[in-house]
Every structure is written in structure tokens, then in C-alpha cells.
């Protein structure tokens, strides 16, 4: 019991402090500043696009990983999960080494006329890289937990493989997929290091909320706190809506 109380206090105290330090009025006032709104807009747009890409490409990939058995599958699963434990700074330097102007694919990307480094597109790349494994992992567990006989029944009844995937697998694995989406989105909203190293920090272009908080911290602690409070609120709203959508399945999905 005491340990639970300790855990609870330790994990909630910093969040409580953010709200105690900033009154609701200050919070609103800080939001009216151009920089804050621009950062918020950029964070929401970039993370939403990143999540869109992750869900579109990641869902079928996770389904294949969960339902097919092939040589090297365990290795593939491990490789995909590596970014999960990668420090963000390592992710940033890795992205530069791979996709930067002097990177492995740098000239290829340049020849294609694509600009990633220090652009909004670069922010989306960084967010996608760091948050994709959170969704993939969760989606894979959700698909693995499916009752195979349902999928077989669908196939026996003449449904094609894509149709089985869309009409049976996705709806049944829904809660697990949504919880994966929330985890990935939360990670994307909070991304700092990889974004700073790969995409830089420029107001309205690459400066997401965490970067704006870091920059404000040195000159305007109250402003930085207020912006943090907004990020906490957005993330909490995300978590809550997912819990409501996913219902009681949410916890089960998260724990496999």
C-alpha cells in the first residue's frame, strides 16, 4: 500500500506542480502569444500526419507479422522494436546519418528534389520514426490475440484475404489498435531530441511544443509552464478518449 502511494505521489507530483504554478488565466494568456499557438498547431498537424502514416502502413504490416510464420520473423520483430528503446538523440543522429545531406541516402533524396532536414516534412519523419514502434507492437499483440477460427470462418465463407483483414480482423482488434494509436500519438506529441537534431527549431516551421517549451524555459518560465500545462491537457484528453473508445478492453489489450 505504501509503495503504491509512493508511486502515485512521485508520478503525479510534477504534473500537479505544473498546474499549481500556472493559474487558468495565465494559461489562457500564454496561449494568445503567437509562438505558443504556432507551436501547438505544428505539433497537432505533424503528429496527426505521422500517426496517419503509421496506421495506414503499420496496420497491415502488424497483421502480417501476427498471422504469418516465416523465417527470420523474430528478428524482424526485434528490429522493428529497436526504436522503442532508442534514446531520442540517437534517433536524431541516426536520421541525419541516414537521410541527412551527407547521409547514406542523402544524395538520393536530394536528387528526388525532396527536402527533409530543417523542414516540416523532417519533423514528420522524426515523429514517425520514434512513435511507429509503439503502434506496431500494440497492433501486433492485438492481432495475435484474435480468435483464428473467426478469420478461418471468413475465408471459408469466401471472403478474400483483404476483405477478411478489413471486415473481421480490424474491427475485432479495434480496441488494441486504438490503444496503440494513443501510445504512439502521445510519444509523437512529446518528441524533442530527434526533432531538434534532425529538423531543427524554427518557429512555425519545425518548432513543436516541446521545443517551444525548451526555448521559453530560459526567458519565460511561466510561459513554459503554461505551454506544458496545455501539452499535459492534450495528452490526457487523448488518453481519456481512447479509454472511453476502447472501453474495458483497453487494459487487456495493453497487457496482451
Amino acid at each position: 500500500m505504501a509503495s503504491l502511494a509512493t508511486v502515485l505521489c512521485f508520478l503525479t507530483l510534477p504534473i500537479v506542480a505544473i498546474f499549481v504554478d500556472t493559474g487558468p488565466l495565465e494559461l489562457l494568456a500564454s496561449l494568445r502569444e503567437d509562438g505558443a499557438l504556432e507551436a501547438l498547431r505544428l505539433s497537432v498537424v505533424c503528429s496527426a500526419i505521422a500517426i496517419g502514416i503509421i496506421v495506414l502502413v503499420g496496420t497491415p504490416a502488424a497483421y502480417l507479422l501476427a498471422t504469418r510464420r516465416f523465417r527470420g520473423r523474430a528478428t524482424v520483430v526485434t528490429l522493428i522494436e529497436i526504436p522503442l528503446v532508442l534514446p531520442p538523440a540517437v534517433a536524431g543522429i541516426g536520421l541525419l546519418a541516414a537521410l541527412g545531406p551527407n547521409g547514406l541516402l542523402g544524395s538520393l533524396i536530394d536528387d528526388a528534389g525532396i527536402e527533409l532536414v530543417l523542414t516540416t516534412a523532417g519533423v514528420i519523419v522524426a515523429l514517425t520514426f520514434v512513435s511507429a514502434p509503439f503502434f506496431l507492437r500494440q497492433a501486433q499483440s492485438a492481432f495475435e490475440a484474435l480468435d483464428r477460427t473467426w478469420l478461418d470462418a471468413s475465408r471459408t465463407l469466401g471472403a478474400s484475404e483483404p476483405r477478411t483483414f478489413l471486415a473481421v480482423a480490424i474491427p475485432t482488434a479495434g480496441p488494441g489498435l486504438i490503444s496503440g494509436l494513443a501510445l504512439a500519438w502521445g510519444r509523437a506529441l512529446g518528441e524533442f531530441g530527434a526533432t531538434l537534431m534532425f529538423a531543427g527549431s524554427f518557429r512555425g516551421v519545425t518548432q513543436t511544443v516541446p521545443l517551444a517549451i525548451y526555448q521559453d524555459f530560459s526567458t519565460d518560465f511561466t510561459g513554459a509552464l503554461a505551454l506544458s500545462a496545455v501539452l499535459v491537457a492534450v495528452s490526457a484528453a487523448l488518453l481519456l478518449s481512447v479509454k472511453l473508445l476502447g472501453g474495458s478492453e483497453w487494459l487487456g489489450g495493453a497487457a496482451r
Binding site: R69, A74, T75, T78, L96, G100, P101, N102, G106, V117, L118, T119, L196, M197, G200, S201, F202, R203, V205, T206, Q207, Y214, Q215, F217, S218, T219, F221
Partner: protein, 264 residues
């Protein structure tokens, strides 16, 4: 499958442990064990001081110096929030003076100067002069307004005709939190040019080249250092600061390309 899933992480863990151990033994001599007899001196210092201070720290005998390098503004903000390193060294005199006025540090001392320059990649650069920065399609990295290097940069640009400084600002692609970020963007080829200190360019071992700024545009770059009030090791902190003003610290600063404190 189940069994393999268990073996794989174990193998990976062993691999990681092996790499870490190999890394520890890699730098020649025996690993530097923390000396129990020596006190630990914590120094918060501007990112541009990294090379000089790290070298000075190895020479410094009175204590085991530990450094925290970041933008001077971030370090000052930490001190305002109650963080107490023993020594605070900034890339300007404004931040230590402000902290002194608030009673958070002792009276600051100016210990070094530096020069702001335009840095460009040594090879294949698009920029060969300050004027080139105004061309469309050229990309530039500068410091954020609150970090000293960013504020010096804005001073320089402010001395140019408004149309020229506007053209340069329009080419800025990133406002980095510290000088290390600007150097990183430059060495990775992410930008064509950046405003940094001359000592930063020297620290890249030839990866970057310097384009001097016109004398009339050059800001006076002075580094201030102060003993933090409530420091745990005030005696060692004093000794550290003394060595910066004249002694091994000053020599390391010179070796790293710093200049003597600007007069006046």
C-alpha cells in the same frame, strides 16, 4: 518460437554488456575511478566552452570537476529555479550580472573573449562571403534569441542595412538552443552557413571554415564567470575561477582559440 523468443533477448543483452565493457576499456589507460579524497566541483558552462573546460578540468588538481554544458541562458534559468552548481560560466556578461543583481551568484569576473564569425563547411560550400547569405536558396542556422550566440548574431545583423539583414533572416532555417546545435547542423551539411564563435570552428578540426565579419560589425564577446551563492565547494570554486583568469585555465582557453577579455 517461444523458446527462441527467450534466447534472443538474452543473447542481445550479453552483446550489449560486452560492447559496454569493451567501450570502457577502450581508451587506453585504466578507467578513471572517482577519487574519494577529492571533492566534486560542479560547473555549469556555456556550450562554446566545452573543449577548453574539459581540458582544464583534467589539469585541475583541487577537485574532480564535473561539467554541465548547455546554452548559457538555459543554465541561468536553472540557477533561477534553485539549481546550485558551484561555478557558472556564461558566453556573455549579461546573464551572470543579472544573477548577481538577484543575489544568486557572487560578483562575476570577465575571463575570456571570443569573436563571432560566419562558419561554412570546408568542402563544397555555397557561401564564401557574408553577402552570399542574402542569396535566395542559401540556408543559415543561428542561435535562438535568448542564447548569447544568438543575441550577438542579431547585434551583427542589426548593424547591417535593414534590407540586407532581412534577406539573411529570411534564409534562417533553424534557431538552435546552443552553439553545439549550430555546429552540428553545419558539420552535417544541413545548412550552408551559421554564426558561431571562432573557437567553435577551431574545435571541428578542419571540418568548418571561417569567414571573418567586418570589424565594424563585430560585437564585443566577453565571457563572465561567477561563484554560485550556496556553492558546496566554495574554496575549490574560487581556485577554479582563479585558474581561468590566469593559470592553466587561461592557457587552455588560448589553446582552444579564445581571446583575452575585451578591454572596456
Amino acid at each position: 518460437m517461444r523458446a527462441r523468443r527467450r534466447v534472443l533477448p538474452l543473447a542481445a543483452l550479453l552483446l550489449v554488456a560486452g560492447l559496454v565493457l569493451a567501450g570502457c576499456g577502450g581508451d587506453g589507460g585504466p578507467p578513471r575511478a572517482p577519487d574519494a579524497s577529492k571533492p566534486t566541483l560542479t560547473v555549469s558552462a556555456a556550450a562554446s566552452l566545452k573543449k577548453a573546460f574539459t581540458a582544464y578540468g583534467k589539469e585541475f588538481q583541487a577537485a574532480d570537476a564535473r561539467f554541465s554544458f548547455a546554452g548559457s541562458d538555459e543554465l541561468a534559468a536553472q540557477i533561477r529555479q534553485g539549481v546550485k552548481p558551484d561555478v557558472f560560466a556564461a558566453a556573455n556578461t549579461k546573464l551572470p550580472d543579472q544573477l548577481f543583481a538577484k543575489g544568486l551568484v557572487e560578483k562575476p569576473t570577465v575571463f575570456a573573449g571570443n569573436r563571432l564569425v560566419l562558419a561554412v563547411p570546408a568542402e563544397g560550400g555555397k557561401v564564401t562571403s557574408l553577402t552570399d547569405l542574402e542569396r535566395q536558396g542559401v540556408t543559415v542556422a543561428i542561435g535562438a534569441p535568448s542564447v548569447p550566440v544568438g543575441s550577438y548574431t542579431r547585434t551583427v545583423l542589426g548593424k547591417l542595412p535593414a534590407s540586407r539583414s532581412r534577406a539573411i533572416m529570411a534564409n534562417v532555417r533553424s534557431e538552435e538552443p546552443d552553439v553545439a546545435g549550430i555546429v552540428g547542423k553545419l558539420t552535417q551539411g544541413a545548412v550552408d552557413a551559421g554564426f558561431v564563435y571562432v573557437s567553435d570552428v577551431r574545435g571541428t578540426d578542419g571540418k568548418l571554415e571561417t569567414i571573418e565579419l567586418p570589424d565594424e560589425a563585430q560585437p564585443s564577446v566577453a565571457y563572465g564567470v561567477a561563484l554560485v551563492k550556496g556553492a558546496k565547494q566554495p574554496t575549490q570554486a574560487e581556485a577554479f575561477i582563479d585558474g581561468l583568469v590566469s593559470g592553466p585555465g587561461q592557457r587552455q582557453l588560448e589553446a582552444a582559440g579564445f581571446e583575452p577579455p575585451p578591454s572596456g
